[in-house]
Symmetry: C2
Subunit: 183 residues, 2 copies
DNA sequence: TCCAAAATGGAGTGTATACTCAAAAAGTCG
DNA sequence: CGACTTTTTGAGTATACACTCCATTTTGGA
């Protein structure tokens, strides 16, 4: 039942090809054919590993986010600055994937399962922000959650702004937002 | 040659059908076939009026954006609360348009005329927010603009959040954000 | 009433897409 | 090796899409 090594290697090749294509040309460029061509693989192999193209795209997005996660183990030691820095790094370093992330999230509003996944991710992130805030000052829990929601909203909104205009200084405004939040 | 009345009526029917479909199911739902079916028109008629589907969608988006920005003259008397209330009303009352707005903006490519239009609209709104803030307290202009950018980012982000989960209390968090901004 | 321009119907085209399937090949392990 | 499982192949399917073509009908001004 254990997977063969060659299959795992193929999975990596496919994910890498998908990641490259998403970075280069966005969602539209990452067609099944393009992914398979670049990975040097046939469509059948793709579907031997992934149930759908969307699953592969989602996994790429997930890995990109994890790659900048300051505390993947969720040990509860990260600071608010750690979290904000991670967000900034994701948006500035993995800019193309950040755009894809927004694109998928916004266009998934009809498809419940995808929207729920994004929502779950968002909620978890709000909790981590709120926990980090609670660690550095003692306000009421309800207030802290609302504050975290607003701060994360500001980061999302500024990222959206940045998608429209790449000359926008995202990092500066993100730091401004968190400073204002702390006041 | 002057256009016939019937052609103008057909154009309105097509635009109306497009607007409805965009509201109901987003960009994906507004296929050429769906638009023509709802407008009670054949594909040939559509292309007698519009050079492409994209043009029709663009025109709908343009009209929607104008509807959201009813005072481009900026008479200079609106308060920050006025602006935030208008935003809240737009998101809660015109929820479908809000979603389309996000969807089109985020899926338009970077150097697109569409993206530029959204950006121009955003920048103008930031200016109005900043002006309103300046009227109720005297900080440095640069600081005020950054504050306006963050506040509007927060509103955009919270709207995005609300698109993912309609049980989210957008109005409450929006007011929380502006209160925090004023502190 | 005439008639050229405008509008329409609607079948048809080309293209791109995600995805399937059964047979063949290759990997794993006793 | 030999039995068993996983992986790969690659042609093939189904479908959806924007858009075209042009004969026919309708319009509205002179």
């Amino acid at each position: 039942m254990a997977r063969y090594q060659v299959g795992i290697r193929t999975e990596r090749k496919i994910l890498e090809a998908t990641r490259e294509l998403l970075s280069e040309g966005g969602l539209d460029a990452a067609t099944l054919k393009a992914i398979c061509d670049r990975a040097g693989v046939q469509a059948g192999s793709f579907y031997n590993i992934f149930p759908s193209k969307e699953q592969a795209v989602m996994q790429v997005a997930r890995e990109a986010i994890q790659a900048v996660d300051p505390d993947p183990e969720d040990s509860g030691t990260e600071t608010l600055d750690d979290l904000v820095d991670a967000y900034i790094r994701f948006v500035t370093d993995q800019s193309d994937l950040a755009r894809i992330y927004l694109q998928i999230a916004v266009s998934s509003s009809n498809d419940d399962s995808v929207a729920r996944r994004f929502l779950r991710h968002h909620v978890r992130r709000v909790e981590r922000f709120a926990d980090a805030m609670a660690r550095e000052s003692e306000a009421s829990p309800a207030d802290t959650t609302a504050k975290a929601e607003v701060l994360l909203g500001a980061l999302d909104g500024l990222a959206f702004r940045w998608v429209l205009d790449r000359s926008f200084d995202f990092a500066k405004h993100a730091r401004f937002a968190v400073a204002q939040c702390r006041r």
